[in-house]
Symmetry: D2
Subunit: 425 residues, 4 copies
Amino acid sequence: MKTMLSEEKVFKDPVHKYIYVQDETIWDLINAKEFQRLRRIRQLGTSYLTFHGAEHSRFSHSLGVYEITRKIISQFERNEYPDWPYEERLLCLCAALLHDVGHGPFSHSVEKTFGTHHEEWSCRIVLEDTDINRILRRVDPSFPQRVAGVISKTYPNDIVIGLVSSQLDADRMDYLLRDAYFTGVNYGTFDLERILRVVRPYKGHIVVKESGMHAVEDYLMSRYQMYWQVYFHPVTRSAEILLGKILGRAKVLAEEGYVFAFMPYPLQKLMERKLTVEDYFWLDEALMQSVFMQWTAEKDDILADLCRRFLHRILFKYVALEHLDVPFLERIRDHMTLAGKDSAYYMEIDFPSDLPYDVYRPGDADEKLPIMLLDRKEELTEISRRSEIVRSISGIHMGQYHLYYPADFASHESVPEDIKRFLGS
Amino acid sequence: MKTMLSEEKVFKDPVHKYIYVQDETIWDLINAKEFQRLRRIRQLGTSYLTFHGAEHSRFSHSLGVYEITRKIISQFERNEYPDWPYEERLLCLCAALLHDVGHGPFSHSVEKTFGTHHEEWSCRIVLEDTDINRILRRVDPSFPQRVAGVISKTYPNDIVIGLVSSQLDADRMDYLLRDAYFTGVNYGTFDLERILRVVRPYKGHIVVKESGMHAVEDYLMSRYQMYWQVYFHPVTRSAEILLGKILGRAKVLAEEGYVFAFMPYPLQKLMERKLTVEDYFWLDEALMQSVFMQWTAEKDDILADLCRRFLHRILFKYVALEHLDVPFLERIRDHMTLAGKDSAYYMEIDFPSDLPYDVYRPGDADEKLPIMLLDRKEELTEISRRSEIVRSISGIHMGQYHLYYPADFASHESVPEDIKRFLGS
Amino acid sequence: MKTMLSEEKVFKDPVHKYIYVQDETIWDLINAKEFQRLRRIRQLGTSYLTFHGAEHSRFSHSLGVYEITRKIISQFERNEYPDWPYEERLLCLCAALLHDVGHGPFSHSVEKTFGTHHEEWSCRIVLEDTDINRILRRVDPSFPQRVAGVISKTYPNDIVIGLVSSQLDADRMDYLLRDAYFTGVNYGTFDLERILRVVRPYKGHIVVKESGMHAVEDYLMSRYQMYWQVYFHPVTRSAEILLGKILGRAKVLAEEGYVFAFMPYPLQKLMERKLTVEDYFWLDEALMQSVFMQWTAEKDDILADLCRRFLHRILFKYVALEHLDVPFLERIRDHMTLAGKDSAYYMEIDFPSDLPYDVYRPGDADEKLPIMLLDRKEELTEISRRSEIVRSISGIHMGQYHLYYPADFASHESVPEDIKRFLGS
Amino acid sequence: MKTMLSEEKVFKDPVHKYIYVQDETIWDLINAKEFQRLRRIRQLGTSYLTFHGAEHSRFSHSLGVYEITRKIISQFERNEYPDWPYEERLLCLCAALLHDVGHGPFSHSVEKTFGTHHEEWSCRIVLEDTDINRILRRVDPSFPQRVAGVISKTYPNDIVIGLVSSQLDADRMDYLLRDAYFTGVNYGTFDLERILRVVRPYKGHIVVKESGMHAVEDYLMSRYQMYWQVYFHPVTRSAEILLGKILGRAKVLAEEGYVFAFMPYPLQKLMERKLTVEDYFWLDEALMQSVFMQWTAEKDDILADLCRRFLHRILFKYVALEHLDVPFLERIRDHMTLAGKDSAYYMEIDFPSDLPYDVYRPGDADEKLPIMLLDRKEELTEISRRSEIVRSISGIHMGQYHLYYPADFASHESVPEDIKRFLGS
């Protein structure tokens, strides 16, 4: 059973102006409590500590991914493309809306520390005993399974997968524009309307009309710029590292049997890796922030100190490493111990390439569906074979090593002059 | 002691592009933990439940007010206006930055329920034992007192007061632009750069050059539109009412000696009206949201139910009342009791004029410094005497009554048909 | 015969991002030489002498009006409104595209001096022996007549007329946004997307859903602001007056039998009021500007001097008149004669209310179709009866007298001190 | 004599919001008739035939270059950089304002056909008997010579030259932003405010702080995109080629002694290469367009036909050539002769690399001052040695061959099928 709303509903959205809802199922999903929970999870984790405008939630991003998908499909239908599977419309829209519903608070750090995975959680929320599951089942008993299939990329239709998850998908298009808008940087802007106009379904794939190549180049350059200017910004990395240290310390303490003065039930379950979907619902960034606030009074000095730093935004300083001089770094580590700090928690050598944002690199192991250009002779070519600029961007190696450390270490009296000089204090 | 930073610092800001910091005092204040706390308090309270982009914090607004003040002063200095008191520059900047530092979580509802006042708290944070006080005292031992004087509008210089708090102040100019940007509405935009160019100090007051009248008209129309489109949006009012009911219920329960399963210390102190500045620091929206989440499991049904509604965004419905038909409203109230709901918590007749946003109305009791135009003959005239459009806006009476109630009441079997029809169910 | 293009065509447009063409007829009309001629006629006449960005042509505006009409109709079709006459789609689009095709160079001044009227010319171009007529006839032999009927507002369907010409029509919506964009002022922006969403056909009229009232208020306030800030800007009026004086002088000279050293054929025909559609085609602003340039060398001193002033932008100065002191103005006129200037050409008392832009005033003789709100009870109310702000704007009387004169007169030795002081020299 | 205006003047500008004038000399220069003439010359020549918004004039661009230069200098002065030569302020501003004052109508084509050069003309207008020269001489008798020195890049101070003419100069920064704004493309936007903040004078050069590298990368990518999307757009090239053919035909006819029915004096002088500064003043795009209009009635068929095509926008079609198959192209040329068209005027093989816009390529013969990064150790490095993305862009070879021809040739009955197929008809 699929029904249309008697009257289109809209959400005011700063990025797309309006988000249009025409299907009852979409409307119900947005109002489901598991989806409303995304309002309490920031799209960019700790980036708000670098870019104070970046407070936007995964709720707004999810609506945006839905809206871009809706626009693409509406263009497919208007043009009556024969290769578009009309019957998959609602599936695409639901998967677009729900693909991030399993994100928890500060996902990247939490996932790294506790081994959870948001995609799995999205599937669980879609498949287990939830309001979202009940709404989806109303469409068709097998519908939740199909939505989960798209989210986990196992659904057997590359057009459906390609819309939600590829090198040129609705997910990325929304987050580049949205993150650019809320951080206030210019880099992430590209001509969305033009890209929407040049994508089309073709022989089972989403492809791009050749005449749209420059628009795609522009989109890929935006990605490249956002990557370096926002997603890998060293101050954001510093906040992320601090967060990781807090979670790591808590995990070690829990394993050692430490009794926390404050430990809410869902976090307890997360640490024991026994989270149910019901528990997961209660895990949000408000809770985590309250926990960090309470933990500033924990008797474990390291945990309390790290939480205080996070809360008051006393982030670690950083210095770029031109090459990895391991003996020198070990000397720093030793001096940190001498200065009374546990270097496992107060020092980090970071190389930002292990983050979940990627430059477009066809051929990589982990690659997503590549971008294919369709020329007038109806031939397909992967874009980097046609565009020198894409080839150039794809070949650029990623990242630089940075050393992170507390400012109070760099100025500590026991630290030798050469290290102080190196740390720039 | 006032010192300039060796190198200007900047914050990327979506509204002003960049925020420039040149003074060491300003830099230190921004990094003070009491100021960083503003990151955890939303500028628009519950508006994010209506406009999903409106997640921006009071931290970003406070930086914006500072930046506009800095730009105005820098224009005064560039033009070497003789009536500008050069020695008040840092005072104005600090007061602009700190005027909202006393805002707590969901200020409007909390203040109304518990009788606190953010302006008083701003002064206490400036004057009592805080990092902010220590930073201000470094300028001069009497400096905190002067900053507090500007915030409480008792400082004896109308130019200083006028910049931070008047009908055309840096505070309003920033929030109109910022709230318009993050909600995504167009209404709040006006030509800031032009207004900055036409304001000037003149015989102890901030006045506007006559040639800037149309720019000010545009600004006042923006205010009018934002007022009705955003600040008094009935869905936002609905969320605000629900929040007020939660806090009111909690207060009543506390007074009745109810033992809360979850009651963090700072909230306890708030309810007992014994908050210290130290306690106040811990009160933020993350904490409040965690509390509401925990309270969904309280044994008091009303409190638990209201919290569940807030968390899952099951807001009250509303219907506009063309006039106040008291007997009819009493009948509704009676039927609510019959339907098993306590109308003190599930029904509200709202008239949004009692909110802290105001249309410009010279002559009102509570009026702020009016906007004075300076003509070529160096004569001053209050703007509404010159501008018909301002006169028109000022004369517009405010608001409309709305009745708020739960959707499940409107569809309850015990409710008579005429009431159901009236409630539109 | 109506056919769709095999592939949608687009124009990049700064205001609407893209303009979409789907009908072969529209595509052919845009490429007709009579339509391409609009590229050589500025949308805002002499406003570029005040706002240097305002160089945009009537070509771009006409495309914009077409695009807004297309969007409205596409929304009507998507919502399957029963009151929408589906068969009128192409008629509306063609009339929207062509309604301004009869504009000549510097229309307002030329029309005033020579008694032409652009609407009549639009109809002649549609009906007489032109490429445009041939393209329209291909649709249906009676089609040109129907298009002309819409342009001259005699077509018997208010929905069709209302889209192209009413208080809330595609024409105004495009020009407010476009003129705001190219001049760079903020005033003209309003939420076009929202307005498009709330208009609908209803019982033979275009009406606005009640919930869109605030968006319409915003649009009317934009009009009010653009009116004063751009369309009636005194510097633009000054350029317009100078232009009128040039044309007036040329007309008088021609009537007196003066032999012009340079007088291109189409201009000759205009002055003799014997223009054919074929002649009209050659009249554009490039020609007029070349004529003014050549005329700087005419032996008639007044004509040569006025042209030199226009070309080098040596505009008349102005001073606002608080009231019409006729004897004083006559004294100025006498002194102008004494100073050797013909006051018929060097002095003007201007009251800008006689311009073709109007504030929304239901009830005026010349009024266009008013804006009707449709409420939930399916009742219609004229907007100013519901909106206090619209009522306020409608009641505002228009304009102020200004005296225009050359700067060299104001500083002429023969002018008495009191007049000099009044003229501010 | 240098004096400041008693009150700052402003121009409303869509790109920079406002343009501020503080110096009397600048104000007078803007009002000089030779500068006002730039209003009648489009910034982008024939691009308005591709992008209908691109009607903006060289007047607005020149103001923009001035404004960016003013902002940079004001930042230098605010930061009190010791390497900034304070006494060169007015020289920089005047040179920025006037560097394009010698541009004639449709410069690129006219210069190519008649061997003029706009830079030389800028210098002549500055140095010969003009209002501009008189205004400059009021500053100092040698001032015109110094301004001309900066324009011709012979002035012995690289900081002054670098501001007005280098790989990162005020000229390019303005035109990228301005052309992007008026065409409506997104590609040309970059973070101007950030770039202004990171440039500084250093040991006789303009350099960029290392931390600004990403902003400069973004600027260079914008250039790359604008290059391909706007400046080399094949439709614009087509209009440019048509224009070149018209001018070329007129030149040949003039050399053959053909008597033109219409030939205004300044154009005559241009063709005889005897233009004086006084004549040059009268050459503008209004004149050229009137000439083309008159020439549609010339008895020379080729000239009349080409002018008709230009005026009615019946541009040549084009097809991309993957490689230069000379015999095949010769066959096309032969068939064009057979079809009765002179291939010298109706066919062109175009390779757009010979246009005056360039991608940044340090090392090229004609290179401008390169972009140098200044790191913390006060060492300078050319940017492409630090940025892989710049290196990539610099290495990209330019352009592609296109064949241009009239649509009516491609469909001519005498043309063989294989050529028709190749031409896509």
